[in-house]
Amino acid sequence: MPEIRVTPLGAGQDVGRSCILVSIGGKNVMLDCGMHMGFSDDRRFPDFSYITRNGRLTDFLDCVIISHFHLDHCGALPYFSEMVGYDGPIYMTQPTQAICPILLEDYRKIAVDKKGEANFFTSQMIKDCMKKVVAVHLHQTVQVDDELEIKAYYAGHVLGAAMFQIKVGSESVVYTGDYNMTPDRHLGAAWIDKCRPNLLITESTYATTIRDSKRCRERDFLKKVHETVERGGKVLIPVFALGRAQELCILLETFWERMDLKAPIYFSTGLTEKANHYYKLFIPWTNQKIRKTFVQRNMFEFKHIKAFDRAFADSPGPMVVFATPGMLHAGQSLQIFRKWAGSERNMVIMPGYCVQGTVGHKILSGQRKLEMEGRQVLEVKMQVEYMSFSAHADAKGIMQLVGQAEPENVLLVHGEAKKMEFLKQKIEQEFRVSCYMPANGETVTLSTSPSIPVGISLGLLKREMAQGLLPDAKKPRLLHGTLIMKDSNFRLVSSEQALKELGLSEHQLRFTCRVHLHDTRKEQETALRVYSHLKSVLKDHCVQHLPDGSVTVESILIQAAAHSEDPSTKVLLVSWTYQDEELGSYLTSLLKKGLPQAS
């Protein structure tokens, strides 16, 4: 029995280091290759030794697919391909291919230059790794080899984020990566057709959340920023350089313009301008409104938002600063946070999910005394706000996607176990499909029963279809044919054609039964009586009386003859071929009962 096997190496009942192995139709595919923000030891990367202990990864994996450029989905890629060693193809969309190496380099710098880690991947390794990347366009069917094909769908999570369909023959798996079902200010909504995969692997970050309307959230956010700025406070918004940053920039830019506000807005790191440039070049990946109006006004050219300089953090007066990274686990956002945390006039707004172990996660869970490096304790007096602006689907969105794709099974990743449990029940109830939520290293096996495609001769098919259209086709009709199997070529043809093709001749099997009837009349009259009797019984059949005195029912021949010894007995010779077996047998038993008396 063919089967599909799925093993998460990361993101199984967890958020971080997404990495899922899928075996389908004899092909092995690795979905995402991420790092974990909550760890800085071995656990930050997936355990690739699970795939093979001594062989080469290239021999075991047919391809690697990266869903989007966030580091928890691609952060381990150079380690995987250059340090562990993989030379096969790596598929991702073009924006991901453009932005991913920049984020990897950024990540490397923080790890090596700032934290002084040894044995980390190098800049050259990032470059070499990216040489193995093949760009995939939306909806393009990419033939990885003769049997394995993949197709990308729009996911709307960040620029270039995609969901992937992996298909071998008639079996398929869809992996969503991270996605968003509601269009926002710069991206469109995720979309997939009714592709009915055997398995849908979906993220479940917000498995239990149903978010209020986006408008309310935006209004809330603007109100909080506005109030803080009005009272002279500073607002810190930790973000990742690409993604939510652009969304919130557009939001603040339009608000500043409308309210004619003067407080400065800054965006940290040199990445920004470059980042915005990517957005300008990849306009087809943004939402409809931006695509329509970009010629008149490119939304990614900001008037109010300026580059941040480290010295600005100490300047007096109100300001809003977007700083990276988004979970306050390192870098500039953490530095500014430390400077501003002491004043209750200031505010930090966390616009997205924070992984366990990060400062972001700690302050969101209410911790107000943080132990920093060097046993320093930082007291957090500034206001801490959380607003979910991450572009993940909420519970409603996940259900919506499941409804769109109509999978036979669902598997949850990229979420917390407790929340998954809830969503799993909901999916099983609503869609009556099995739902799985394996932990890391745990394998889910689904057996599939694919149907077998064969070629049917058009003559046979047309004959059957024409008969299927007849009005008396209430009973299911049986199609009869011969399947010729030669190598891997399967053809279904009519029996006659099969015989002909194989150079065989038909063997005709014929039966002739003698039925004795008591009838004193002449043979011709007996035949006539037989004819009228059969005609009245077999209304749906073609009964004929031929000039030579014989009677036919369809292709069955009945002749009357005199008995050689008994003149008052007539012998009916009923003759039919094996193909008319049922009818012939029926006729003999019918005639045996005798003919009705002529009235």
Binding site: S451, T482, I484, R514, Y578
Partner: protein, 658 residues
Amino acid sequence: MKLYCLSGHPTLPCNVLKFKSTTIMLDCGLDMTSTLNFLPLPLVQSPRLSNLPGWSLKDGNAFLDKELKECSGHVFVDSVPEFCLPETELIDLSTVDVILISNYHCMMALPYITEHTGFTGTVYATEPTVQIGRLLMEELVNFIERVPKAQSASLWKNKDTQRLLPSPLKDAVEVSTWRRCYTMQEVNSALSKIQLVGYSQKIELFGAVQVTPLSSGYALGSSNWIIQSHYEKVSYVSGSSLLTTHPQPMDQASLKNSDVLILTGLTQIPTANPDGMVGEFCSNLALTVRNGGNVLVPCYPSGVIYDLLECLYQYIDSAGLSSIPFYFISPVANSSLEFSQIFAEWLCHNKQTKVYLPEPPFPHAELIQTNKLKHYPSIHGDFSNDFRQPCVVFTGHPSLRFGDVVHFMELWGKSSLNTVIFTEPDFSYLEALAPYQPLAMKCIYCPIDTRLNFIQVSKLLKEVQPLHVVCPEQYTQPPPAQSHRVDLMIDCQPPAMSYRRAEVLALPFRRRYEKIEIMPELADSLVPMEIKPGISLATVSAVLHTKDNKHVLQPPPRPAQPTGGKKRKRPSDDIPDCKVLKPLLSGSIPVEQFVQTLEKHGFSDIKVEDTAKGHIVLLQEAETLIQIEEDSTHIICDNDEVLRVRLRDLVLKFLQKF
């Protein structure tokens, strides 16, 4: 399978393919050469044009002098220009299921088809094709609508009148069906029926046919199409290029193994080498400007202009032209330049890698930044303030019948210092210039047509090896002006089938197989038996289900349990359905073994007689006779059903069922 040919223009095709149960229109080209018969539409009142003399017949009859004007021996229609539409009568266009567009030049007739024929289907095209196609249509509508013309001439179209006119008016085809330009509203409505597709995307049509666009290398987003079922494949090649310009290279490999390859959109100037033409373009441009003259380049707002600007970007500094202003004037100039920069994934590899830096893929961004290239929606407004001479102007329309180009022709035509350089191959430059004669300005003809030439075609055909080639009749003979050049035609075996406007071709292939799926439960129940080495057979009796053109075979239902005695049994219930087919039999019966088998099953008193063709086995006691021949067996017995069935089953043991 049939092909309805609605356009006679080989580079602006419009064909309808009937394949399986689908009706597919391939391209929607609009023949605009008809506009060459009309007078230009000047942006500013032109005394020269309005004072042209009316034309009268040889006998002095001047009833047409309001409609026809004469200029330097040529006669022009003084009216709103009109276009020659594809045939609309050959096939009921409301039955067209889908329209496949291959490039933005081949969709200009779309609003006529989608808005006025009862068409209710879907149009498929790539995103650059749609966006740039929209720009081309917008420009066209704008050019024509901004100079409203009161007169719409129709008298000359009368068949009897047309016969009396001089060439080329006399020979113009189907003038009664010529139509004025569509409106922006019609354009928007037509474009709203388009569904965007990507290269190598497999699109299912009604479960019967799959269509796939492939990169054709000719323009941004240009595609060839594969139309296939599981057993048949038609390739539609339209406007392809093997030259390395800005678009993604042509995908040739996917065209392999086609039953039929429909070939359209070859180069219109097979004798010109595009690279050489670009060189000539640059040197003529430089020469004119150095002598203090102006250069006019009539062009479309997208396409070759990107390549010309790129060449100039590399050329102007070395040629000492850095102080010369370049103007690009079109209502869609800005949009075209902006759009060209955002379609990275549709560009050639070199340009794609630029966006990773991130840098705009085309260098015209830099030309604009450094103020060397300026663009304006029209000659009115800002342009009139910035205008400096000598300069280079890129503007439309290449037919010279409407658009800002008309103004520059009038403005610069009188001076021999100026040059007009024709780069677009769609219009004969001599005909385009006819209403401006006499002309003092220099005219240079540098047609740049990057589409396939005949050498490339024959190489391509050798490589992809289609069973049959279908093409417009123009490609099956040398060009009329160069009848000795037998190399300028398609050479393939078997010879290409040719079509002309309003013709219906029956395409030469027979469909023989269709895909069907055997459900796993049914497959499990099949018993294959090896007939010859490597060939196995299994008889299949199954229920056929057909839904959305997909066929599935399911296991036969289990015989229904007799339904209790409640219902009165009707006699007809017993009558077997003669439509239940029994398998065919094959093989032969070895008499000796058969007799042994009979004996084993308790028959005695068996007698075997030889006959001419075989044997007769007599069961004397049962008064039964079995005739056995090579290909037949005949059991003749009394009406003893039990006996007959026993004998039948014994015979069947020796035979194979099919």
